[in-house]
């Protein structure tokens, strides 16, 4: 592994200790969203629209309220009016106003003394609908004659003459596109489509909310970001943020889907109506699939010019994406800058439109927009490599972005590791395994910007010289372990002497969620700065004791030392000694750091996959899979590998199985895991990983976020491998067996 070649000099960073939450999680003690209960707690259920688009003519809640044990019902009439922008979107999605906009749209909620009773009561709420025409496909939604879902959705950016369902438009580029295309030996142009997929976290959304008639409340919830929950609930319910205290539970996966609200305001509103009794609300799996954030579906035109030696001379994309019935939810703003981010191409033109459709309000999903963009661009690069008989890694090395390259979306890359991932992939044994009949190999690269974001962390030194660290980014994939490692490294104390906790909204300044691959980067960076502050204070305490200048004290190996012979001759004063007497040397010792973290380093990756396609059935089997990605510095390599493997497998699912299937009636046809088929253990081989480490100069230990990039290359890599195995190029995902079989038959003529 590349890691072992580095002479880092770190004592703890790069090791693989047990995670602090491991014991609770293997014994069933860890408490997730639905595992929390309070005395007097009620249970809630939600009434959802069976129609893709309809006007609500009447809601009759009288029968439900008449049921013994039913304590409260809420409809839109119970929520405040006068909201605008994204706050209004959130409120419209929490409970429909005069119209339902997708199958599964919430219409009412009811709280009762048991979960079964709440479900019975929900069935007694009678909603009268007038069905309206609907559209669910991205291309159909902007075709002439498509039903207008909502009037006036277009923002400032949309040029005249587009369909009223088009909500946003974006364009940028550089260089002379026509000259670039003219300089090419071949110019190819195709359209690619990806279906919507769901984040598929195994834990359904769950919360317990309590709010009194004074508008003060508390919430326990599984979320990626409890300050977002606080802000959004406050906006939707018209209360003050300070009056809502939100405590995050352990979180059973999020992948972007738990960065927003769905059911949380309902629990609070029901609680208030029920006299302040706490209300638990847990989604069913079908509710999760029908009504929480899937990703966008996309239809993408790509045009590329290439010389015979593989030089890419120009590129052009036009993306169409739908992110549901609400504006601003499709990731066009991310997909476009990701499209050519792996390349240094002299002439590029990017355009995209967002269109609304009768589908659920999309949420972020791991590198939002990047997997679709990669499927389109990397697929066409691969097609042209095959046409010209060129090695796909060599072509990427030749055209790939390097240190100092001007990125496709504007800024210059400073220190990036794309070339290193390509070289490592080329050198890996997987790239040399001979292929058999019906087997094919695919290569693709991927990119994610990474994100810094608003971050607040505090640290306190204990009386015994241990340290507690309070962070605001919920830990999903082991970030408490990685942050603990960084703090222990900085303080010079054992990893076991640092305890990192995710704390509630009252305990820190505002934190953005665990999103954008930022937790280990940003909370880690702030934790190191908080530790630096505590170290400075500990050096002052030692200096005062020794009667020397604080500047004459230095910190190493967990203790204050006189900085040199001139500072005086004192034995080192350990963190334990300083902690033990801090009450008499000035009081508690702590550190804190608040920042909007800048200095993220982008993470590039390159994947190599071999597949075998059964020519009789069209079923694709993944034979071997390699992920190579730049981690900057792998703080806890096992959890870095885990991100690579998990991201790759989500991408494999997107490529081969997963899709939202809507019927002609606009209803989701597959809202259960049996039919929305995520990869299972027997579908997969081991996922080989290589951690490349090109340290990020913007982080004290060189960290780059690693969470998201891994989901982007699998889509095009697998499509390329299937093309290699079958001779059939399929330009729409997923590569389901019937689709592959039909393509094989068509290719044979």
């Amino acid at each position: 592994m590349a890691k072992d070649e580095l002479k880092s000099g770190y004592k703890l960073i790069g090791t693989r200790p047990n995670r602090p939450d491991g014991l609770d999680k293997v014994t069933g003690r860890a408490r997730y969203g639905a595992d929390f209960s309070l005395p007097g707690m009620l249970h809630a259920a939600v009434v959802r629209s069976p129609h893709a688009h309809a006007r609500i003519k009447n809601i009759d809640v009288s029968k439900a309220l008449a049921l013994d044990g039913v304590k409260a019902v809420v409809t839109r009439a119970d929520l405040p009016t006068g909201l605008s922008g994204e706050d209004l979107n959130l409120q419209d999605n929490t409970l429909a106003g005069d119209r339902v906009l997708y199958d599964g749209h919430a219409v009412a909620a009811v709280a009762a003394t048991s979960a079964l009773l709440a479900k019975d009561a929900a069935r007694l709420i009678a909603v009268e609908y007038e069905i309206l025409p609907h559209v669910t496909d991205v291309d159909a939604a902007m075709a002439p004659g498509a039903p207008v879902i909502r009037e006036g959705v277009a923002d400032y950016s949309v040029p005249e003459g587009m369909h009223p369902n088009v909500a946003r438009y974006m364009a940028f580029g550089h260089g002379d596109l026509e000259a670039g295309l003219a300089a090419a030996d071949i110019v190819r142009e195709h359209t690619y489509k990806t279906e919507a997929t769901h984040q598929g976290y195994i834990e359904p959304h769950a919360c317990v909310g309590q709010m009194g008639e004074d508008g003060r409340g508390e919430m326990w919830v599984c979320t990626q970001g409890h300050w977002y929950i606080r802000r959004m609930c406050a906006a939707v319910l018209g209360i003050e943020a300070a009056n809502l205290r939100v405590t995050p539970s352990e979180i059973g996966g999020g992948f972007g889907g738990k960065t927003t609200i769905f059911i949380e305001p309902l629990a609070l509103a029901l609680s208030k109506k029920a006299g302040g009794r706490p209300v638990k609300l847990v989604m069913t799996r079908s509710e999760v699939l029908r009504a929480t954030g899937p990703t966008a579906s996309a239809s993408m035109d790509v045009k590329l010019g290439m010389k015979r030696d593989g030089t890419i001379t120009a590129g052009q994309v036009f993306f169409r994406m739908q992110g549901g019935a609400f504006v601003g939810m499709s990731p066009i703003g991310e997909a476009l800058p990701c499209a050519f981010a792996c390349y240094d191409i002299p002439a590029l033109k990017h355009e995209a439109v967002e269109v609304i459709a009768n589908r659920p309000k999309a949420a972020a999903y791991r590198a939002p927009g990047s997997p679709m963009a990669a499927f389109a661009v990397e697929s066409l690069v691969d097609e042209m490599c095959r046409e010209l008989g060129l090695d796909p890694i060599e072509v990427r090395l030749k055209n790939g972005a390097k240190n100092g390259s001007r990125s496709s979306y504007g800024p210059d890359y400073t220190v990036i590791g794309l070339q290193e991932t390509l070289e490592a992939a080329k050198a890996h044994p997987n790239y040399k395994v001979p292929l058999g009949p019906n087997q094919g190999r695919g290569v693709a690269s991927g990119f994610w910007f990474n994100h810094g974001g608003e971050t607040s962390v505090s640290l306190a030194v204990g009386e015994d010289g241990t340290a507690t660290v309070s962070i605001g980014t919920p830990d999903i994939g082991g970030s408490r372990a990685s942050i603990g490692l960084m703090v222990a490294e900085f303080l010079g104390i054992p990893y076991e002497n640092v305890r990192v906790s995710v704390v509630e909204t009252g305990a820190l300044g505002v934190n953005e969620p665990t999103h954008g691959s930022r937790a280990t980067f940003a909370s880690g960076k702030a934790a190191v700065e908080a530790a630096r502050q505590a170290v400075a204070e500990m050096c002052r305490r030692a200096a005062a004791d020794w009667g020397i200048d604080p500047d004459a004290v230095e910190w190493k190996d967990g203790a204050a030392h006189p900085a040199g012979p001139n500072a005086g001759k004192f034995p080192p004063m350990s963190i334990g000694e300083i902690g033990a007497k801090m009450g008499s040397t000035g009081g508690p010792i702590s550190g804190h750091h608040e920042v909007t973290a800048e200095g993220v380093g982008a993470s590039f990756g390159t994947h190599v996959v071999d597949v075998e396609v059964d020519p009789e059935t069209g079923r694709t089997t993944v034979l071997r899979y390699l992920v190579v990605q730049d981690a900057g510095t792998a703080i806890h390599p096992a959890y870095v590998e885990g991100q690579y493997q998990g991201g790759a497998v989500q991408g494999i699912g997107w490529a081969l199985n997963e899709e939202y299937v809507y019927g002609a009636d606009g209803r989701l046809q597959n809202p259960v895991f049996l039919d929305y088929r995520v990869p299972v253990a027997s579908d997969l081989p081991m996922i080989d990983t290589v951690i490349v480490e090109v340290p990020n100069p913007g982080h004290p230990y060189g960290v780059r976020g690693v969470g998201e990039t891994g989901i982007t290359p699998p889509l095009p890599a697998i499509a390329a491998a299937v093309a290699g195995a079958t001779g059939a190029r399929i330009r729409s995902l997923p590569l389901s067996p019937p689709k592959v079989l039909a393509a094989i038959k068509a290719a044979k003529g």
Binding site: Q199, G252, G478, F673, M686
Partner: protein
């Protein structure tokens, strides 16, 4: 609706509760007995997060009615460790075979049921046995390795 008096044994201890006739074993374990280690991921028997062992048989507790547990012996994740962790539990921590950890209880219970039948499974046998337990975080790689090493340890081969 009249409730049903259920007498059962859970993790070796006698347990009694009154079950709604529609109540699943999963809900009874979680809501009546406070054993929230068993998780609900789907409620339709597709994800395996609610795996428990009933009279020696691995079942999805979301597909079994609580009343059906009458007179039976139920084992859940909470009963897996004795004074020390079960080798599977320890290997899962050491292999980083969990990220969010939500599927982990069900996978551990299912893997234990496998190793009781087959102490030396191949990778393929583990993968097919665990095909009913969805994990969205790990890509299964480290889970398979952890089960293999736990099996080896339990055989005394480690």
């Amino acid at each position: 609706m009249t409730k049903i008096h259920v007498t059962t044994t859970v993790n070796g201890d006698p347990a009694e509760f009154l079950a709604d006739p529609r109540e699943t074993l999963l809900d009874a374990l979680r809501d009546q007995l406070g054993l929230t280690g068993t998780k609900e991921g789907c409620g339709t028997g597709d994800c395996g997060a609610c795996s428990v062992i009933v009279d020696g048989v691995l079942v999805c507790s979301c597909l079994m009615l609580a009343a059906e547990a009458e007179g039976k012996t139920v084992e859940t994740i909470e009963g897996m460790a004795g004074e020390e962790l079960h080798p599977l539990q320890r290997q899962f921590i050491e292999h980083a075979a969990l990220q969010c950890g939500f599927c982990t209880p069900g996978i551990l219970v299912a893997a234990k049921a496998l190793l009781e039948r087959n102490p030396d499974p191949t990778d393929t046998e583990i993968r097919y046995w665990l095909a009913g337990n969805l994990c969205r975080c790990t890509g299964y790689d480290k889970i398979i390795r952890a089960v293999q090493d736990a099996a080896a340890e339990m055989r005394g081969a480690a």
